[in-house]
Symmetry: D2
Subunit: 300 residues, 4 copies
């Protein structure tokens, strides 16, 4: 995305998260722009560059950090800051006490209540998960991860396989292009005529959602990208018993999993693929998005 010419002498705190955050810190350090980078709560199974300072002391580190980057998701299931590579449990509001309202704070999937709480103290959290380019760039590792699953689980080659993709958002667009390159027969189910026209322009077979039922029987694999249960009992029954179902949709997912199990269908609900299948790339994507945000803020 061209040069990301950050100003010198900025201080960064990269706090919590998994391998993605660690890789992001390493990549930022490797760019050698003269930043002071501190990695926090990134302890286990991780090789941080020697250029990165380490600290778990929010009282010392946060007040002097120009940019503070929380992980995606920002919080774990218990409401603490998401720090899977550390044994420390950290309240997000404890951090708040040490963050200057001149700092730029970034995080992924910020609960609205928490955002409001920070806002009351004059601290705006930029949620990079909301950025269009973040979603687009992550469509690539998600689609590659979906292909990895299909290649592993299917007893036939993708070349010649009949693939149904439901939905035609970002992930579906990348996935469909790759499936076509493998020589699969690709059908895409969508509702909008504009989307169906795109499917057609991409050389795949468009199927209006009202005609979906008639296309299920011949599928070797079905990738769902629609976050609503469109694969209900009626539809699942139409699928062949050997059809693999890969659900890429976030909660609640697009499959009636209980029924699928009862029917003996192999169903895989694949969530958060970028961090799992390509953590380094996922870290790079976060860094690129962070850079864009900082540039728009004139902070670079």
């Amino acid at each position: 995305m061209g040069g990301t010419q950050l100003l010198k002498h900025k201080t960064f705190a990269i706090l919590g998260g998994d391998l993605r955050q660690a890789h992001m810190a390493n990549m930022l350090a490797a760019e050698e722009r003269g930043y002071r980078i501190t990695g926090m709560y990134l302890d286990k199974d991780v090789k941080l560059s020697r250029k990165i300072h380490r600290s778990d002391d929010i009282r010392l580190t946060l007040p002097q950090s120009d940019v503070i980057i929380f992980p995606l998701p920002m919080l774990d299931a218990d409401g603490f800051v998401n720090t899977p590579l550390s044994d420390v449990r950290l309240e997000p509001t404890d951090c708040l006490d040490y963050i200057s309202n001149e700092s730029i704070v970034l995080a992924g999937r910020v609960p609205p209540e928490l955002a409001r709480r920070f806002q009351e103290h004059g601290v705006t959290i930029e949620d990079y998960l909301e950025r269009e380019e973040f979603a687009v760039l992550n469509a690539v590792p998600t689609a590659e991860g979906a292909l990895e699953i299909a290649l592993q689980e299917m007893p036939i080659t993708l070349r010649g396989a009949t693939c149904i993709v439901t939905g035609f958002g970002r992930v579906a667009k990348v996935l469909v292009r790759l499936l076509s390159a493998f020589g699969a027969q690709v059908k895409v189910v969508a509702r909008k005529y504009g989307d169906l026209a795109w499917v057609s322009a991409c050389g795949c077979e468009p199927v209006h959602i009202s005609e979906m039922m008639e296309h299920l029987a011949g599928a070797d694999v079905l990738f769902n990208t629609v976050p609503a249960v469109i694969l209900d009992e009626d539809k699942l029954k139409k699928l062949g018993r050997d059809c693999l179902v890969i659900d890429l949709a976030s909660k609640p997912g697009g499959v009636d999993f209980d029924t699928a199990r009862n029917l003996g269908l192999k169903t895989i609900w694949a969530l958060s693929l970028p961090g799992k299948v390509a953590p380094i790339t996922a870290g790079e994507i976060t860094l690129r998005t962070v850079n864009n945000i900082l540039q728009e803020k004139g902070a670079l």
Copy 2:
């Protein structure tokens, strides 16, 4: 797009236009759904199916037509109905007198004033040029036409050529995919980070518009898709003298043509490519869009 199951015994008037309208009439007739189809002002250089009735008499034909399809553009430069395959000159408002307000009227690029005039008589004109799927589907013949020009004009193969595409709308998306398939080096200039991320996901090189100047010198061909003069004197001067410029943007176009000529740059302003390079496909696209409109209206 699945079957387009129209009801039987409908009457269609397909009025004016070029080969696209004629092909649309032929395709509609070939579907054999029992419609009565009348072709109007489609006389020259055209083979209409024998299943199509012919009439140039709007008084007889329009009142009994359930669906009336005007061409794209609806009017010619002088404000008459656009009838290039006929010598008749027809005032659009003359038609109005014979159109029942129970008829469905479709046309492409309808002047707002005319639309209002029809509306006052209870006749709504559906402008199919406004439909998303129409634009998407036409991106394919437009991109193929742009490639045809590039292949004709360039003394080198597209394989290995450095191509710059400005803008990343529908046409650019299709064009970029084809250029990549040829093995060209493709750079795409855009403004939005989300678009640049897509460029990246497609395996091409994203260039933010602020950095465009630095990439111009090495281009073998530049395709503009932005309908604003972004190729001004400063930018044109950066292009090599052998660089071909193909402007796909509608008026005012994206190139300062006078300056380009003075600089000795070969510049081609390619407008309305679908009708020129693939009239049969263009007619098919119109028919498909018309079908979608009729289906949404419950008219089929």
Copy 3:
């Protein structure tokens, strides 16, 4: 490959082998051409169609079989017929006693000594492993399997990854096309100028083997397809420590595995991928090849 119109009332014995043989039997049965098909030594973990007769008695079955299909490889490591889905141990020469010299006998990877032995009894074994189309068709599951490994093992996306492929035979040709579709940077190392020209025509970067050393440092993954140890200590040392090495070459392989291990390089020697990653497709490929052989013999 068009219709494979076999004559009716032929008798087939499909003997031994793994899932591929079983799937081949099922597919042949599904074609419903009126053959009598007997599956032999296909007992474990396998669902044979009810249209297939079962017998483990070579004395009864072989003499009356027009076509006898042994597996790939024909023999196991101990020199018995390769029957992994059965507990029976079967001497190949025991079969010979019951095979009419009017039968057509097919097998994969037939030891020359055994072929000669059969020949002495008037029985020619057709080795389908030697067929060009068998090798070409198997290049697809092999390349897909190689991609599956790369997707599993690499912490980055293939999009944007630098991939080196050594050799430019059948598997490499398919693999390179897929890697390019993923948006990888693909370099192919070959010796012949004709091959390097093909690499170039495919939009990849050709590297003459004499210049290979200079390209190793930047690789994220290296796929070897050359069945000779070209990745010796000098070359392995040039690779980055995070570079994944996938060796697709048959014995002796193309990598000095001991040195690779000492250097801490992750190296995967992936043999016989089609049967492992896509047994149904592999069975279909065998069937198609068998059909071609039978057609050339006028047996169909």
Copy 4:
């Protein structure tokens, strides 16, 4: 193909030919390796670099040239050296008198009789047309030229068009890949099972030549690459009247042109496309091949 590091202080004579030879001379000069390059009989419509010496005097120039490059074809229809950019008529044997047998002489399509004549004087002509890499590299401009014709002549888009390609040599392989990228339905007619397997692996539909007749009716365009009249009257009659036939085969071509004309089929015999549609690339290909020859001879 990596750097082509030629030794310094070599002298080259580039003699006759069309724009391709001129471009080759310019590219060789642009590499700035310290050669003395003389362009001969390259006068009309041509911009030679100022680094290139000009001479039409074979007595002075040839004896002191280390490398002498004749054009493709070496001779014109009248048996003179092919010099379309000059008014001079030059007997090839006149040149022979001034060529040292220490010079390296290259030419394209050398008549055997002439080669023998030169050989008698101790001068071996290297025919670069015979080189595998020359043929492969030229398959790209040939395929692009074929697409240019198809795009110009067809009233429908390639996307969705049914294309038949006869033969599966170099040009066909490149062409098929591009047609597939356009989203065409591609069928390839071949005789060998190995070729048909490749077609299948490329995601296209293989058609054995014995079943060709049944596939002709639905074609929108047919590209022939087989240099034998396979499109005889019976086959031509099966094609639809709107089917475009593009014959890429060298003499005698693959089409019964008289019958095609009588049937009203649009048939285009496209010969020598690289020099016509992409002369600069064609010159670059010749230069690359010449470099390979010189390197193999240890002359560089």
